[in-house]
Every structure is written in C-alpha cells, then in structure tokens.
Amino acid sequence: MKFYKIKKLTVITEAAILDNVLELATELGADSYTIDRVSGKGEKGVRFGMDSDISGMLTNVRIEIITHEELAKKIAVEVEANFFQNYAGIVYLQDVEVIQARKFNIKE
C-alpha cells in the first residue's frame, strides 16, 4: 500500500477562541480536524487547563488539521495574523504520511 506525504498543522491556543479558529479554518477550506484540551505555559503565562479554572479562561485547546501543504500554511499564517496579537497561541507544521488517499483529497 502506498503512503502519501502531506502536512499536519497544529494550533495551540485559548479555548475561548476555539470556535473562531475553526470557523476561519473552515472558510479557508479545512473541514476535518481533531481537538483536545491541554494545559501549558508560554509568553502569556501559565494556562493550567482543567485544574480549578472557574471561568474557563485558562484552558488551552490543541487543534490538529491534516491537509495539503499549501492549505496548511495558509491557515497557519491566517490564524497567526488574526488571533495571536491578542490571544495566547502557537502554530506549527509537521510532515505526516497517510494512506487514505481519497479522504485527504490526494490524487492517486
């Protein structure tokens, strides 16, 4: 079976803007993703996630989108430009290999 090279984009940011980031990604053309809640520390301080965060303001989410390099980069750039002035967040890309060609719109 053939493995195809493609990209995985990861966004780690404030849970408060999860919906907004997903909306932006969807507009740009990504319609599949995986999400989980994480804790973390960065420039904008300690964000301890589920641990007694009564207003839910300190929870991070991690969004992963597997897609073609071009779209992945476009989403990365747009998310950074639109949100990371005001909100805590990082974004990065990784190489992945997949086999479900149809699912990831890969021409076989």
């Binding site: 404030e14 408060a16 007694s52 207003s55 909100y87």
Partner: protein, 332 residues
C-alpha cells in the same frame, strides 16, 4: 454604631467565608488539593438552579408591576457602574483604557456565588426577601457587559491603525445568554414559572445548597489567590478600584432599592439584595464575554481585579456591611 460593629463581626465567623479563606490558604501553601472541575461546575449549576427556581416560583406569584421598577433599576445600575468607571478608573494615569472598560464591565456584572452567599445568610437570619430579586441578575449583568464592550470599541475605533471591530448589541446579548451561567439561571426561572418544581426544589436543590456553596467558596478562594499574583504585573489603581468600587456600587443599589421600598414595597431583604447584586462583580460568566468582546484588554488586569480581589472583598467585607446597614435601617 456598636450594634453595627457587632453584627459585622458575627458575619465574619460564618463558615461560608471560612471556606473562602481556606481556599486562599490552600493556594498560598501551594497544596495539591483541588476540587475536580466537574464538581465545581456542578456546584455552580446547583446554585444558579436554586436561584432560578426560587425566582421563577416567586415570579409566578408576584405581580409584574412590583418587579418592573427594581428590574429597571438594575439596568440603570449596570450601565451606570460602567459609565462611572469610565470617568474614574479609566482616567487614572498608567491605566490602559480598554483594560479599564473591561474591568468596569465585570464590576457592573454580577456574581452568582455572591448572591448565593447573601441568600444563605438571609435564610439563616430569617430575613424575608422576594425570591425574584436575585433572579434580576441578568438585568444588571448584560447591560453592564454591553456598555463596557461598546465603550471599549468606540475607543479602539478612534485609535490609529486599529481595525474597527463590529459590535452588535444583539450578538453580545446572545453571547451572554448562551453562556452556561445565564442559561442555567433562565432554565430555572422558566421551570419555576411554568411548571411545579416545588418537590425537586425542596428535596434536592434547596437542601444541597449550602454544601455546594461551601465547595464553590473553596474553589473561588483557590482561584482568587492565584489571580492575585497576576495583579502584581498591573497598576496599583486596580487594587484601589477593587476595594472601593463595590462599596459605592452597593450603596447605589441600596439607595435605589430603598426607593423601590417606598414606591412598590420592596421588602427590606429585597433592598439588601439589590445592594448585593450591585456590589458583586462577575467571576465566572463575565470574563469570557469580555475576553471575546474586548480582545485587546489584558485578562490579568480585569480577572485579577475581579476574581482576585473584588469577589473576596465583597463577600468578606461588604456583605456584612450591607446586612448590618439593612438591619439597622429597617430595624430587623
């Protein structure tokens, strides 16, 4: 005056306050103790449901006219608190305007847990209050948040290089109502008005109320202490605001409540409750709305001021003051 002091001290010995202080100590000593997230979310649910159900049941039996004036006063107070902040806190040196508006928005908004403490105190002291008064909460909360967001956006729009965010009042209201806290309260009110939830209220929400309130106080204490640390990074004026503003707001609430006492016979308990609603500041539901509405404002400033100091100060200091005041004035 001695009378006033006595009542004040008595209030300080209540276990609810002790749980709050215990929470702060837990955090101060860096203990690993935590209330699981699901449990304090449930505690918040239990409190707001009780406030809502009690409110709804009371509204069912009240006449709309007696509710109308206090509700209107709530709206006015909510807007007034933010405008007051705009001409005081926001004018101080070294204060970023958007941070100030965000902070005032939270102080105009309302804390369900503070209301719950006030309700428990009334019930313990056997002071009657109209059950619908605490349920007026959204009438102050939403206008305050809206006013703050609008002021901030008008200000930011005037700044060079800033994209004008489009602020839709309808969107902000929707956003507030869709938040977990206000939804819970409104469900409770609706169930209270349209169904007969008396049995589940009396067998579940009411008896468990004081227990879950203690648990929420522990959590609030832990949270408050953590947020205090962040405050160090921002101007000292915020601390001054957190200490002084709630007293002023509470007295305004007391005053307008007193007018309602004369005009529509709002009970003494209701007047005290108006003071508490006005004095209290949002710790759970407000911050996310502000974060979304004024993204450029620094959360350390407004959450530190509100959750870190405001809530503690109101529960520990001013609640006893308003009760003592009410008891002296109304001779309870």
């Amino acid at each position: 005056m001695l009378e006033f002091l006595n009542r004040f001290i008595e209030q300080l010995q209540k276990p609810v306050l002790a749980f709050l202080i215990a929470g702060m100590l837990i955090s101060a000593f860096n203990s690993k103790f935590r209330i699981p997230e699901a449990i304090y979310q449930f505690a918040v649910f239990m409190l707001l449901m009780k406030i809502g159900l009690k409110g709804g049941i009371a509204i069912r039996e009240a006449n709309i006219f007696e509710i109308f004036l206090p509700a209107l006063f709530c709206v006015l107070i909510g807007i007034g608190i933010v405008l007051l902040g705009a001409v005081t806190l926001a004018k101080l040196p070294g204060i970023k305007k958007d941070d100030a508006f965000a902070t005032c928005g939270l102080f105009g908004a309302v804390s369900g847990s503070t209301l719950a403490v006030a309700m428990l105190t009334m019930e313990e002291k056997d002071i009657f209050f109209e059950g619908w008064v605490p349920a007026l909460y959204p009438f102050m909360d939403i206008p305050a948040l809206i006013t703050a967001i609008i002021l901030a956006n008008i200000y930011l729009a005037k700044q060079k290089y800033s994209k004008k965010a489009d602020v839709s009042i309808a969107d902000i209201i929707k956003d507030c109502l869709k938040g977990g806290a206000l939804t819970t309260l409104l469900i409770g009110v609706a169930l209270g008005i349209f169904t007969k939830p008396e049995s589940v209220y009396e067998n579940f929400f009411d008896p468990l109320f004081s227990g879950f309130l203690s648990i929420l106080m522990l959590t609030l204490g832990i949270e408050a202490y953590k947020r205090l640390a962040e405050l160090k990074k921002v101007a000292g004026w915020y601390v001054a605001y957190a200490f002084s503003a709630p007293l002023v707001h509470g007295l305004i609430g007391f005053g307008l409540g007193y007018i309602a006492h004369w005009l529509v016979e709002l009970s003494p308990g209701g007047v005290i409750m108006m003071a508490v609603i006005a004095a209290s500041n949002s710790d759970i539901s407000g911050p996310p709305t502000i974060r979304a509405g004024i993204p450029s404002a620094n959360p350390s400033a407004y959450i530190g001021t509100s959750t870190g100091i405001g809530t503690i100060v109101v529960i520990a200091l001013y609640l006893p003051v308003f009760f003592a005041l009410g008891e002296v004035i109304f001779d309870l």
